[in-house]
């Protein structure tokens, strides 16, 4: 085959491992004593040897690898799909039928290979040969491919036609049976390598193959290579890590907590809109709805963040704060959120507004932040940027979750649903607030709240 498309730089072409394994299976089938039973195919005048039936193949696979019949059927089907065995009666459908359907083995030259990919020039020669043999009656997709190839490699078209004619003449020197077999082999090869539209391509490797890990192997070991390696290792050592026991514990508790709330895992009531075409579920769970569902309110109990992120929950909380506490903490928190996620051009004006409203001594809605954080924030305000109020925001968040929320649940006569039960677990160690008295208990999602990241 002519040289196919060039391999990606830094990575030489290699045979894919699953193809090598299939080749080994096919070769072990050829053993004269322990291989598959061969029969002869009887056409009108000619007799062609080396035909196998589907049931023989399945039986051999079952015996050789000691697997169930279902698995042997699947393995045989994979071999046929990749073109190592091809059917004789219906050559276009590459499926394995476990009955008396005859099959034959493909010649090693035409084995599916990523080491020797099929080239456009060869496909053009094959189509030209088929055109000559069948006097122009190609399949539709083949006609399209032919025209497309002619546009692509029109400069080589003389060669294509010369080779096609000569290859046909060379084939005529063989006896009829061999000619038929070789034609079938070539047809199977091109069915696998250029499948008709709608048929799955077994050679598709999917995105993301050929990762940089593979390319790194082939670099020559120069000083640059070692410098890169050292840098890579240094960075790897500096990354923060969490012990898997801790992670997994957190993960398990997260899944246990969220399991009943996940519509895929526990189903969604009243019905899945995608299945039943009834959008009651979406209407009931709209972002701003008068009566939130029970599940939704339960979710507010998981963490303070859930409560704040849900618009209905936040509205409830604001109401409550308005009555029992002053609402400036939550307003300050919301203003900080706006700063973090707002437009870059608004940052200086917004920072100014926040300072005037919440942080300046004697401001209208002054928030209570501890002195150290306040000092740090005021310093940072000299060069305002998006995250300058992060520390203060975190402080306020902690204050809200530590003091306001427990009061919220335990308060009598609040409009807040009272079945919310005991105070929910609070966030864990936060090195920023070492002086603040916060209930410390490890939980899953809040465990991620480290080092000044309030949300996300």
């Amino acid at each position: 085959m002519a040289a196919g498309p060039a391999p990606p730089p830094g990575r030489p072409r290699a045979q894919m491992p699953h193809l090598r394994k299939m080749e080994r299976v096919v070769v072990s089938m050829q053993d004269p004593d322990q291989g598959v039973k061969m029969r002869s195919q009887r056409l009108l005048v000619t007799v062609i040897p080396h035909a196998v039936t589907g049931s023989d193949v399945v039986q051999w696979l079952t015996q050789k690898f000691c697997i169930s019949e279902e698995e042997a059927l699947h393995l045989g089907a994979v071999l046929v799909q990749h073109g190592y065995i091809y059917p004789l009666r219906d050559p276009r459908s590459l499926v394995l039928r476990p009955d008396e359907t005859p099959y034959r083995f493909q010649t090693p030259y035409f084995w599916t290979s990523t080491l020797w990919p099929a080239a456009e020039l060869d496909y053009a020669i094959y189509l030209a040969k088929k055109n000559i043999r069948k006097q122009g009656t190609l399949a539709d997709y083949e006609k399209e491919c032919y025209d497309r190839l002619h546009t692509k490699i029109s400069h080589a078209w003389d060669l294509v036609l010369m080779q096609a004619r000569e290859q046909l003449r060379a084939a005529k020197q063989r006896r009829k049976g061999d000619r038929l077999v070789i034609a079938c082999q070539e047809q199977t090869y091109w069915l696998v390598n250029r499948p008709p539209p709608g048929a799955p391509s077994v050679l598709e490797q999917g995105p993301g193959r050929g990762s940089c890990a593979a390319s790194r192997v082939h670099m020559t070991k120069s000083t640059d290579f070692y410098k890169q390696e050292i840098e890579y290792c240094r960075r790897a050592m500096g990354r923060t890590r969490v012990k898997s026991s801790v992670c997994l514990e957190a993960y398990l508790s997260f899944c246990g907590q969220r399991g009943p709330h996940d519509p895929l895992v526990s189903g969604c009531l009243p019905s899945n809109p995608w299945i039943s075409d009834d959008d009651a579920y979406w209407v009931m769970n709209a972002p701003t709805v008068a009566a939130p569902t029970k599940l939704r309110v339960e979710r507010w109990g998981f963490s303070f963040r859930e409560l704040l992120e849900d618009p209905v929950g936040r509205a409830h909380f604001v109401d409550f704060l308005g009555k029992e506490f002053s609402g400036e903490n939550l307003s300050f928190w919301e203003a900080c959120e706006e700063l973090r996620y707002g437009a870059q051009a608004q940052v200086p004006t917004l920072v100014d507004a926040v300072y005037q409203q919440f942080l300046a001594p004697g401001a209208a809605r002054w928030v209570n932040i501890d002195s150290r954080t306040m000092e740090r924030t005021l310093e940072g305000l000299r060069q305002p940027h998006r995250y300058v109020l992060d520390d203060a925001q975190l402080h306020i968040y902690m204050a809200l979750s530590a003091h306001a929320l427990p009061t919220l649940t335990l308060s009598q006569g609040s409009a807040f649903p009272t079945w919310l039960g005991p105070p929910w677990p609070l966030s864990c160690q936060c090195s920023v607030l070492s002086t603040h008295r916060v209930q410390r208990r490890r939980t899953g999602p809040d465990h991620m709240l480290k080092k000044g990241q309030v949300s996300i």
């Binding site: 010649t107 003389d158 060669l159």
Partner: protein, 235 residues
């Protein structure tokens, strides 16, 4: 005339490459044998000779600066066809090396794949070497030495291709092929007589068997008719 000579050399090279491709198809299959390996060797050596001479002629012509524009276009067309054909030959040779190493005949590591191709390929090799018939008897360990030689020859062909690219610079996209898409159908219609001839050739190939069958059938029929006549006369 240089053009006719180059064209003839190119046609010969093209024919040999096609025959070589056809022979390499069966390596590793049930038709693989030491004879096949020897036929492959002879075919590729002939192909290489033709390649060298074609290359020399075409390079000499194309490096001649005093060539007219349309003549140059014609020779560039031949050049593109020749280099494509040489690429095909090199790829087939590499493939033959890989398959020959994977399926050694002298000390077989694994059984040959039973593909159903059983006949001899001497006709193809004879066509490649432009002889009437070919009878080869290869020794039992022919393929071992052959593989080493094949490796050397693959490198030689690779070098030839590199030299070609160095000496003559023909941009592929400027070459206009003479034959359009679908020209192979027109030529089969035009070359009606030749296809009929080829059919006759093929018919000639199995003529003895068919003639014998016809004669036997005729004889049996005559005997049956004679018997029937006798029976009718007697009764």
């Amino acid at each position: 005339m240089a053009r006719e000579e180059c064209k003839a050399l190119l046609d010969g090279f093209n024919k040999t490459t096609a025959c070589y491709h056809h022979l390499v198809l069966t390596v590793g299959g049930s038709a693989d044998s030491q004879n096949l390996r020897q036929e492959l060797q002879k075919t590729r050596q002939k192909a290489q000779e033709l390649a060298v001479s074609t290359c020399a002629r075409l390079t000499a012509v194309l490096r001649d600066r005093g060539l007219a524009a349309d003549e140059r276009a014609e020779f560039e067309r031949l050049w593109v066809a020749f280099s494509g054909c040489l690429d095909l030959l090199e790829a087939d040779m590499r493939r033959a090396l890989e398959l020959g190493a994977a399926f050694p005949l002298h000390a077989p590591r694994r059984p040959l794949v039973r593909t159903g191709v059983a006949g001899a390929s001497s006709g193809v090799a004879a066509r490649a070497l432009s002889t009437r018939s070919l009878r080869l008897e290869a020794e039992g360990d022919f393929d071992v030495a052959d593989l080493r030689e094949l490796e050397r020859e693959v490198l030689q062909v690779g070098e030839m291709i590199d030299n070609m690219e160095m000496k003559v610079n023909v941009p592929r996209w400027t070459v206009q092929a003479r034959q359009a898409a679908g020209a192979e159908l027109l030529s089969t219609v035009n070359a009606g007589p030749s296809s009929v001839v080829s059919v006759e050739e093929r018919g000639g190939g199995c003529d003895p068997r068919k003639a014998l069958a016809a004669i036997l059938f005729g004889a049996v029929l005559l005997a049956a008719v004679a018997l029937a006549v006798c029976v009718a006369k007697l009764s």
